[in-house]
């Protein structure tokens, strides 16, 4: 089958298995930290202390799993949608190697404490340079294949991939400008309020252009493929695309509500956050309407429910986010576990559901084999759904409780609870969160096993 098309699928498989590897590693670290939250005895060495592990968890899953899932599907979609083989397959192979070395180096250096502390940009400057080189390697193939393409019109998914390629480069370079002191230590170019403003412009948009934009590219490509139904409205996807990438960049400061950052930047961020509901729901509506008249597929097609639940969590996420950004609500929820719950609905719900379903569709295609077990895929679906919902709802309730305890006052106006009261009241929730994480993790193990068994199926496997 590969000979027929000349497409390079080995790179797709390479990144897909990198994604699975970092997914399992990142979740194991997440579980370890979840346990540390109610049992600090687990901070047995500096390398395993919560402060260092947290960034290994976010980088390992956000970049290690998320980005390799994106690269795997991007290399697949780019070739299929342009009907053109990858122009530089050797470069792509080098990209795969550099990427995995960078993630491994990131994990080790972060555990050693080489941490710039700027969220989702914690890597020290030599690794930043490595990341930029890695990105250029990817971008060369993206633009080369687009220029050489044999399909004139570019489908929606390709617009999203172009927007990601450009924007991530701008975000990463601007945010990581730093002055080296030694090989392992640097200081940000920006100071105080400006540093905060640059960082959260980056922090918000790196999530947007990694966890939203390319995942929407997957959604727009794999949903019609998996269901056999065309996207409901091309026009709606055009309006959504441009308004999404325009409005996203104004909203970073909603992460800095009620801080010393100038108030007008915060207010502009609130306004654009509310506006962002429209383009986000443009994609949600487009997804739902694609299924009109065919909702029985939720039962009959095991992939459809991944996509529909995934886009539903995206829809909830993009309603919850702007609401949290409102000053009054932010004053209550910010800095509590509510926000932790919010983030994880996006990552465990939307991102992982869509990447899982995309892999289920794509891996059999690139390996020329049928999926090992649809039954296991269904088990995987229910475990990660229940695991994620229990996880996030637990954190939301805990967040509300903590916010209320921070605010509570006695009739004479004094504080009702000291800080430790608020923290210790959360321990039951932390235990519940750990249990939910286990359920989710089992679902992911089944997913990984299912994909592995698929490529190993006929005796002479080539993966």
């Amino acid at each position: 089958m590969k000979e027929d098309t000349g497409y390079d699928y080995s790179i797709v498989r390479g990144f897909a298995f990198s994604a699975l590897f970092w997914l399992v590693v990142g979740l194991m670290i997440g579980l370890w930290m979840a346990f540390e939250m109610f049992n600090p005895a687990l901070n047995i060495t500096p390398w395993l202390s919560f402060g260092r592990l947290r960034v290994v968890h976010t980088n390992g899953l956000g970049v290690g799993f998320g980005m390799s899932g994106i690269f795997a599907t991007a290399y697949y979609m780019l070739q299929r949608l342009t009907r053109t083989p990858l122009p530089f397959p050797k470069l792509a192979k080098a990209h795969l190697v550099v990427f995995n070395l960078a993630i491994a180096a990131a994990a080790v250096t972060l555990m050693m404490g080489m941490n710039t502390t700027r969220e989702y940009a914690e890597l020290e400057w030599p690794l930043d340079i490595g990341v930029v080189i890695m990105w250029v390697m990817f971008a060369i193939n993206v633009f080369a294949i687009l220029i050489k393409r044999q399909e004139k019109q570019m489908y929606i998914s390709l617009w999203y991939l172009i927007a990601m390629t450009v924007t991530v480069a701008v975000l990463y370079i601007v945010n990581n400008l730093e002055i080296p002191v030694t090989l392992t230590k640097s200081y940000s170019l920006y100071a105080g309020g400006n540093d905060a403003n640059v960082e959260w412009w980056y922090g918000h948009n790196i999530v947007g252009f990694i966890f939203t934009v390319p995942v929407l590219a997957m959604f727009y490509y794999f949903l019609p493929k998996a269901t056999g139904l065309p996207i409901y409205s091309h026009r709606l996807s055009i309006v959504s695309f441009w308004s999404l990438i325009f409005a996203y960049l104004w909203t970073g400061a909603h992460h800095l509500m009620l801080t010393p950052l100038p108030e007008w930047i915060q207010t502009v961020a609130i306004a654009f956050s509310i506006f962002l509901i429209a383009p986000s729901w443009g994609s949600v509506v487009n997804g739902y309407y694609t299924l009109q008249g065919n909702w029985d597929q939720m039962r009959s097609n095991y992939l459809t429910k991944f996509f529909i639940l995934g886009i539903t969590f995206y829809g909830l996420q993009t309603l919850q986010g702007p609401l949290q950004g409102l000053r009054t609500l932010n004053a209550f929820f910010h800095y509590t576990d509510w926000v932790v719950g919010h983030v994880h609905m996006g990552t465990m719900g939307w991102v992982t559901m869509i990447i899982s379903a995309s892999f289920y569709y794509m891996i059999p295609k690139v390996s020329g084999r049928d999926l090992h077990s649809i039954k296991l895929a269904n088990t995987h679906f229910w475990l990660i759904l229940v695991g994620q919902l229990t996880w996030t709802i637990t954190m939301w309730i805990g967040g509300i409780q903590q916010g209320a305890m921070w605010k509570a006052t006695n009739p004479d106006g004094s504080l009702m609870y000291n800080f430790l009261d608020g923290l210790t009241s959360l321990y039951p929730y932390y235990k519940m969160r750990f249990a939910a994480g286990i359920v989710y993790f089992i679902g992911i193990l089944i997913f990984s096993w299912n994909i592995l068994q698929t490529v190993r199926k006929p005796a002479e496997a080539e993966a």
């Binding site: 540390e36 939250m37 109610f38 600090p40 901070n43 500096p46 919560f50 402060g51 947290r54 941490n115 710039t116 502390t117 969220e119 633009f143 687009l146 393409r149 570019m154 390709l158 617009w159 172009i162 927007a163 450009v166 924007t167 701008v170 601007v174 002191v181 230590k185 200081y187 940000s188 170019l189 920006y190 100071a191 105080g192 309020g193 540093d195 403003n197 412009w201 990438i245 325009f246 409005a247 996203y248 960049l249 104004w250 970073g252 009620l258 010393p260 950052l261 100038p262 930047i265 502009v268 961020a269 800095y335 932790v340 921070w406 509570a408 006052t409 504080l415 800080f419 923290l423 210790t424």
Partner: protein, 225 residues
């Protein structure tokens, strides 16, 4: 529909679209006085405090502690005067944080004696049985590395001479190893014998914690008298 068949044009247009909000809300404010107000009363960190700040970053303390008090009634009651923009003029990077698993630290300087911090950092559970903070007793077993302290203050633009940095280090060492240091007993308890006469990582992080919010408190004291 031309743009959807021209990838390079689409990339350029997309870049312009994403740069609009970026320029208005990020690049332009860099040149506005409101994001970098003058801060005569806020002094840069000493070399030791800066070393402590770097350790705070190394250990990822910012993952559980914020450093910005919001202008909310209960928050001011709990932590003290709310944070002002000029306080952070020397902070590269900023360490405002995004999650409060532990309390805010922007006003922790001067709140407790050094001995409190030595004891607490050594093993938080000895002071608060139910605390979930990791223990950092091992930091007292690490000699403080000051080999690039001067270079750090130079990159950060603190304006110290090499002599001044050496003096700051010597002064702080003299302070914590002096017989009449008010936290001497606790420091000796948590510090291995061989390092009691040296500066440790623990000394530096305590120095940093005591700096947080100190200038603001001193200014308020002056204004009140």
């Amino acid at each position: 529909m031309g743009i959807y068949s021209k990838p390079v044009v689409l990339a350029i247009v997309a870049a312009l679209v994403i740069l609009t909000g970026t320029v208005v809300t990020v690049f332009v404010p860099m040149f506005m006085p409101s994001t970098q107000p003058p801060s005569g009363y806020v002094k840069p960190y000493t070399a030791i405090e800066q070393e402590g700040r770097d350790l705070y970053m190394r250990e990822g303390c910012n993952n559980c502690h914020t450093q910005t008090v919001r202008p909310l009634r209960t928050e001011v009651l709990r932590y003290g005067e709310y944070s002002k923009p000029e306080e952070f003029a020397w902070d590269r990077p900023f360490l405002w944080g995004s999650r409060r698993t532990g309390p805010d630290l922007n006003r922790v300087g001067g709140k407790y004696p050094d001995s409190w911090h030595y004891k607490h950092m050594h093993k938080p559970q000895d002071m608060f049985a139910l605390s979930n903070m990791p223990p950092y007793g091992w930091m007292a077993a690490n000699k403080l590395d000051t080999s690039v302290s001067f270079k750090k203050t130079k990159v950060l633009g603190y304006g110290y001479t090499e002599e001044q940095v050496k003096q700051q280090i010597a002064d702080y060492k003299a302070k914590v190893t002096a017989a009449d240091y008010d936290s001497r007993e606790t420091r000796d308890q948590v510090t291995p014998e061989a390092l009691r006469g040296e500066l440790t990582e623990m000394d530096a992080i305590v120095a940093y914690l005591q700096k947080l919010g100190r200038d603001v408190k001193e200014k308020a004291k002056e204004a009140g008298q």
